[in-house]
């Protein structure tokens, strides 16, 4: 794996940021601070960052309902994300999307998606667009083992193959779709093998190993940029928390969780780069401190941020539409 020190430091910073962000949400959700539902990415950091460390702002990603990690890996601002998750006006989506729809199109992040399997068709479209606009941009389509069973995922893989689109399909197999193990839900259990049926190269990698992910990603993305079409990567990983916060996780054993946690992607990354003398431990410690401060500030700012104005209830439904028809058949409520 050929990465310079700056790239390694940046990769660590992003993985650390995801972990800190998600651990903090885990804590604050338990305290009842956060509205709605959050699906946390902790444990899977090496996948998002291993892929996105090869991307620029002109490249796109599609995501899942477990999308915070993808956002951070793609460079979305954590302050805007935190405010969004709290439903506040300065949020990335002005408080209208929340955790499950968090997005930043300017950063090439085409949205977390509340629909399992919602992303692959969108990824094909973004890739078609990249091609038609004459760029060498690529699209990373993240989805889970659950979505590997959705028709849209398989249709997206077929269309990407037919149109030779610059898409990298990344199945984050974290073991469970909600409570259901892929060993039950995926007929044949070999998700990577499915992609070969669509005529695209496909590999399964240890998703807890940043370097294994980054290497597979580098090859797949280079291939896509060369116009040689889609590639499939199954990243075998694990989510540390439940399907969503509040999940009692009664469907898996603590021994299993420990066996995955003992292979934690951040610890392994640190071990690898420090033992090989690529980055000093003190530098990584400094990142840990800076990231903790960044997330602390993001939470403080989110808590004190203003709520969206009630007028914004009916803005941005369309680019252009008669306002009176957003309260069809009635008078707009008068607010005092």
């Amino acid at each position: 794996m050929d990465m310079d020190r700056n790239s390694l430091v940046e990769a660590y910073r992003r993985m650390r940021t995801i972990r800190e962000f998600e651990d903090r949400l885990h804590k604050d959700f338990a305290g009842g601070e956060i509205p709605g539902f959050v699906h946390l990415y902790a444990g899977e950091e090496a996948v998002a960052v291993g892929l996105c460390s090869h991307l620029g702002d002109g490249d796109f990603i599609t995501s899942t309902h477990r999308g915070h990690g993808h956002c951070i890996a793609k460079g979305v601002d954590t302050a805007g994300m935190m405010a969004e998750i709290y439903g506040k006006a300065p949020g990335s989506c002005n408080g209208k999307g929340g955790s499950m729809h968090i997005a930043d199109v300017d950063k090439g992040m085409l949205g977390a998606n509340g629909i399992v399997g919602g992303g692959p068709p969108l990824a094909c479209g973004a890739a078609l667009s990249a091609k038609k606009r004459g760029t060498d941009n690529v699209v990373i389509c993240f989805f889970g083992d659950g979505a590997s069973n959705q028709g849209t995922t398989l249709e997206g893989m077929n269309l990407a193959g037919v149109w030779k689109l610059p898409v990298v399909f990344v199945c984050e197999n974290n073991g469970y779709a909600e409570t259901t193990s892929y060993k039950y839900s995926v007929s044949g259990t070999d998700i990577a093998a499915r992609a070969r049926g669509f005529g695209m190269p496909s590999v399964a990698v240890d998703g807890l190993d940043f370097f294994a992910v980054a290497e597979a990603a580098g090859e797949a993305i280079a291939r896509a940029r060369r116009g040689e079409g889609p590639t499939f990567i199954e990243a075998q990983t694990y989510r540390y928390y439940g399907h969503f916060e509040g999940d009692s996780i009664a469907y898996r054993d603590r021994e299993e969780e420990e066996s995955f946690r003992s292979r934690d992607c951040l610890s392994r990354f640190r071990q690898t780069v420090t033992s090989q003398g690529l980055v000093e431990a003190a530098d990584l410690d400094a990142i840990d401190g800076a990231v903790a401060a960044e997330i602390e500030q993001a939470v403080t700012d989110a808590l004190s941020a203003p709520d969206p104005s009630l007028d914004s209830l009916t803005t941005d439904v369309y680019v252009d539409f008669p306002a009176s028809q957003l309260w069809m058949f009635q008078d707009e409520p008068v607010r005092v």
């Binding site: 949020g91 949205g111 068709p121 479209g125 078609l128 680019v319 252009d320 028809q325 058949f329």
Partner: protein, 343 residues
């Protein structure tokens, strides 16, 4: 109201749609077309095969030859993937026109339309726009039975974020499609396939009919008939017959179903005091019931008689010609409804 000069050349509804696509593709290279068999024979590289089909009823024929297969792109039969690809391409700088062959096929790909295309702008706090047109065929009368013949455009009107258009004549088909392609929101463009061979005067060159504006192709004082798509023609037939017995009907052609031109509808109701709505869709939760609700909430005091609806029954479209003909609203049913409002 659109004024059409009598000296204008006459082309069919199908040709008008093709012409709009051709002009918009020439005008803006971000406009691309894709769908099943929109070109035909995609396995062949030979130019003589480029327009082997041009869509199942030939609407896009000739466009691949003119604009190339880089811009007129055949898809596999994979509605979810290519409708979703339209959304993804629209969100990232293109202006795709995607063909969902028959509107009933929305059942295959509805998520990409209602959860992705429709909601994306709002979910993202206004930081995305989806300039996507989904062209699709509606309409009974082709003996094509239940899954290829219905007109459930009201389904799309229900979803915030979508615009819905249903032209009744060639000129509007051309002008509304141009407007839809230039619009920055996702538009469901409903073509009534029974109208494809209908000729009509159509302006040459650039011609745009703004979305959200109904037309009043016939003025009258006695009864308002609000009609959609092919039912505008049915309303005209009824109006002609009624005129001979001294009843002057006003016809409002909605053209756009979302947004709805409520001002034109209400102005007509206030003028005539009587309302008949003619819609080929099923009667429940429909554009017809929307118009009735509009009258009830905003023009009740002007109504001299109960609102009458003339729609298809609450059944799928049947196959047997006898039954299908009984399904679609007829001029006779419209005349009966008009007379009932005058009773």
């Amino acid at each position: 109201m659109t004024t059409i000069e009598l000296s204008q050349r006459t082309i069919t509804y199908r040709e008008a749609i093709n012409e709009a696509l051709d002009l918009e593709m020439a005008r803006d290279d971000r406009v691309i077309l894709f769908g099943e068999d929109v070109s035909g024979a995609p396995h062949s590289e030979e130019e003589r095969h480029f327009d082997a089909w041009g869509g199942v009823l030939g609407v896009t024929k000739g466009l691949a030859g003119k604009h190339g297969r880089e811009r007129v792109i055949d898809t596999p039969i994979t509605e979810s993937a290519f409708i979703g690809a339209g959304v993804g391409a629209a969100a990232t700088g293109m202006r795709p026109v995607v063909e969902l062959m028959f509107i009933g096929f929305m059942g295959v790909c509805l998520d990409q339309i209602i959860n992705q295309a429709a909601k994306m702008r709002y979910m993202f706090g206004g930081k995305a726009k989806i300039p996507l047109v989904i062209r699709t065929m509606t309409g009974a009368g082709f003996r094509a039975a239940a899954q290829h013949s219905d007109s459930p455009y009201s389904t799309f009107c229900h979803f915030p974020g979508l615009k819905v258009v249903a032209p009744s004549n060639p000129a509007d088909a051309k002008g509304l499609l141009a407007a839809a392609i230039r619009d920055d929101d996702p538009v469901i463009f409903c073509e009534n396939k029974v109208l494809y061979d209908t000729p009509g005067p159509v302006p040459e060159g650039e011609y745009v009919v703004p979305l959200g504006e109904a037309s009043v192709p016939r003025e009258g004082d006695d009864v308002t008939i609000v009609a959609i798509s092919r039912m505008v023609g049915v309303a005209h037939q009824a109006a002609d017959s009624l005129a001979s017995s001294g009843v002057n009907t006003e016809i409002v052609d909605l053209r756009s179903l979302a947004p709805l031109d409520t001002d034109t509808v209400l102005a007509s109701i206030r003028k005539t005091g009587r309302l008949v709505v003619v819609d080929e869709d099923n009667p429940r939760c429909s554009v017809a019931t929307d118009i009735a609700a509009l009258a009830a909430t905003q023009a009740m005091e002007y109504l001299a008689a109960p609102v009458k609806l003339v729609t298809a029954p609450h059944t799928p479209v049947p196959f047997s010609p006898v039954l299908e003909d009984a399904y679609v609203p007829t001029p006779e049913r419209v005349m009966e409804a008009v007379r009932a409002t005058l009773a």
